[in-house]
Amino acid sequence: MSHIHIPDGVLPWWLWVTGWVATALLLGMASRMATRTGTRRAVPLVGAISALVLVAMSTEIVPIAYHVNLTVIAGALLGPWLGAISAFIVVLVLALVGHGGITVVGLNTLMIATEMALGWALVHGGLRLLGSRRIRPVAAASTIVTLAITTTMLVGIVALAGSGATARHTGALDVETLEFRNPFSGDLINVGLLGGDDHGHDDEHEADAGHDDEHAAEAGHDDEHEEGSALSVSRFAAVVYTLGPIGWILEALVTAGVLGYVVRVRPSLMLRSVNAPPSASARVGDEHGGR
C-alpha cells in the first residue's frame, strides 16, 4: 500500500488541499537541504532514482503480476530530504499517466516521502546495528515495518475523510427513489430551471397541515442518506489489513533481494549515505568494489 489509489473527488476538499499545502512546505524545506548538499549532485541523483522507481512501478514481477515500488530502497539511497523530492516527482508522473488522482498528489507525496524517510532510518539503523552481512533481513524487516506504518496512515486518511463531518453523499441520485424522468413531459421546465421547487412536486410542498411533518421526515431521510453513504472506514481497514500484508511480504522479498544483490556486487554502497555532501572528487560509482 505504497500510495493512495483513491480517485479525484472522493476525499473532501479540505483534506487534499491540506495535503498539497503540507507537500509545498515539505518541498520547500527539502529543496533548501538539497541546495546545501549541492544542486549539481542532487538533480541527477534524484532524477535517476525517481526514474528507477517509475520503471519498477511499471514492471510486474513474472509470474505473480505484482508491481513493486522500491520506495524503501530509494529512501535508503536518497535520504529523507532528497527522498521527499523524489516522492513528489514519482507521484506526479504516475498521476499524469492516470495512476492515482491529481488532487491526491499532495497526500500521496506525504505517504511516499514518509515511506522513504522511514526506509532510510530503518535500513541504515539496522545496518549500523547488525552490519552489512545482515542486509537481507534488515531490508525485509524495514520494508514490512515501513509499509505497516504507511498503511495505517492511509487508513487514518480515509477515517478523516469518512467521519460524520465530511460524509459525502451521492447527491442527486437517491438510490431508494431512483427515477428516470421524461424531459418532454414539461416537467423539466416546471422544475428547478424556471422557478419550480427543487424536487418538482409543487403539490407536495403546499402549506397544508402536514407540511412540517413532511419536512421533518425529509430532513430525517437526508441525514439517513448522508450517513448511509459515508465511506465505511472499518470495512476499508479490514480489507486493507487483510490484503496489505501480502503486498508487504512481496515488497520485502524484492527489497531484500535487490539490496542483497547490490551489497554483493558493491559492498560499500549501502554503508555510506550517497546524499552526503560530495567532495570534489567523490563519485557514486567509486566505492569499494565498484568499477
Binding site: 489509489h5 480517485p7 473527488g9 472522493v10 518541498l27 520547500g28 527539502a30 529543496s31 538539497a34 541546495t35 544542486t39 549539481r40 549532485r41 538533480v43 541527477p44 534524484v46 532524477g47 535517476a48 532514482i49 525517481s50 526514474a51 517509475l54 520503471v55 511499471s58 514492471t59 513474472v62 509470474p63 513493486v68 516527482i89 498521476a95 499517466v97 492516470g98 495512476h99 488522482g101 491529481i102 453523499h169 442527486a172 441520485l173 438510490v175 427515477e179 416537467d187 423539466l188 422544475v191 430551471l193 427543487d198 424536487h199 459515508a230 465511506l231 465505511s232 479490514a238 486493507v240 533481494g257 535487490v258 539490496l259 547490490v262 556486487v265 550517497v274 563519485r283 557514486v284 560509482g285
Partner: protein, 265 residues
C-alpha cells in the same frame, strides 16, 4: 503501464489536439478535473466518460492504448469502492471518477510532450524540484530501455517462464538490482555532464505556441460545456431525474466520435 508509448504518441502524433497550445490543454484538463471532482451522480459521470472517449476517438488519438491506461486505476478504485463505499451507486461513482480523471489526464499526456507539461510546474516549484523532474524524464526512457535489455538477456539466459516461478522472480529481482547500479552510474555520468557544462541550476523549457487557434478554442469550449453540465446536475436538484440523458448524450458522443475517427482514416 507503458510510459514510453505515451511519449511516442505525444511527440510523433498529429491530431487536432497536438496542434493546440499546451497551456490551453492544461486549462482544459483542469476544467475536466474540476468536473470529475464535482460530479456526484454516477449517470452523469458515465456520460462524461463516454463523451471523453468519443472526443478522443474523433480526433484520432490512440483510444485503445489510452483506455488501457485509464482503466488501470479502475482496478484499484474497484477495491477501494468495495472496501469503503456504502452502496452500489456510490461505488460506481468512485470507479467512474477514477476512469474519467485518468482519461482526462491521459488525453493531455498523449497529445502533449512531457517537458511541455512540466514547464508550468517547473515555474511554481523550487528550482531543484523542477530540474529533477526534467532529469527524471530523461532518465526514465534510458532506464526503461536498459531494463528491457536486461530482461531480454535474462529470458534468453535463465528463462523467465511460468513453469519456474521462483527462478523467474529471482531473475527479475536480480535485473532490478542491476538496474539500480546502472541508475547510480547514470546519475554519475549526468553529474559529470552538468559539471562540464557549468550547470548551476535552472533548466529552461521553451514553451510551444498554438499551431491552430480553433483547436485551442474547441478544447476549452468542450471542457467548459462538460463542467457546466456537471455543475447544473450538482446544484439544481430538480434535474436529478434527467441524469440518464447525460449518459445517453455521452453514448451518442462516443458513437459519433468513433464514426468521425473511422472516416478520417
Amino acid at each position: 503501464m507503458d510510459i514510453t508509448a505515451v511519449d511516442r504518441s505525444a511527440i510523433s502524433g498529429d491530431t487536432l489536439l497536438h496542434r493546440a497550445a499546451p497551456s490551453s490543454k492544461l486549462v482544459a484538463t483542469t476544467l475536466l478535473l474540476a468536473a470529475v471532482v464535482s460530479v456526484n451522480d454516477p449517470l452523469v459521470a458515465a456520460g462524461l466518460t463516454l463523451s471523453l472517449t468519443g472526443a478522443a476517438a474523433a480526433v484520432r488519438l490512440p483510444v485503445r492504448q489510452m483506455l488501457t491506461l485509464a482503466l488501470y486505476p479502475a482496478v484499484f478504485a474497484l477495491v477501494f469502492a468495495f472496501a469503503a463505499a456504502a452502496n452500489v451507486p456510490l461505488g460506481a461513482l468512485v470507479v467512474l471518477k477514477a476512469v474519467t480523471a485518468a482519461l482526462a489526464v491521459v488525453t493531455l499526456m498523449f497529445s502533449t510532450p512531457y517537458p511541455q507539461v512540466f514547464a508550468p510546474i517547473q515555474r511554481v516549484t523550487p528550482r531543484v524540484v523542477g530540474d529533477a523532474l526534467l532529469m527524471t524524464y530523461r532518465s526514465l526512457f534510458i532506464l526503461a530501455d536498459k531494463f528491457s535489455d536486461l530482461s531480454r538477456a535474462i529470458r534468453l539466459r535463465a528463462g523467465l517462464s511460468k513453469r519456474q516461478p521462483v527462478r523467474a522472480a529471482a531473475a527479475t529481482v536480480r535485473a532490478m538490482g542491476g538496474l539500480l547500479l546502472y541508475s547510480l552510474d547514470l546519475s554519475q555520468r549526468e553529474y559529470d555532464i552538468l559539471y562540464l557544462r557549468g550547470y548551476e541550476g535552472g533548466f529552461r523549457v521553451a514553451t510551444r505556441r498554438s499551431a491552430d487557434r480553433s483547436a485551442d478554442m474547441a478544447a476549452l469550449a468542450y471542457s467548459a460545456v462538460l463542467l457546466g453540465v456537471v455543475a447544473a446536475f450538482r446544484w439544481i436538484p430538480g434535474l436529478a431525474g434527467y441524469a440518464w440523458l447525460v449518459t445517453l448524450a455521452g453514448a451518442v458522443d462516443l458513437a459519433t466520435g468513433a464514426l468521425i475517427g473511422r472516416r478520417r482514416r
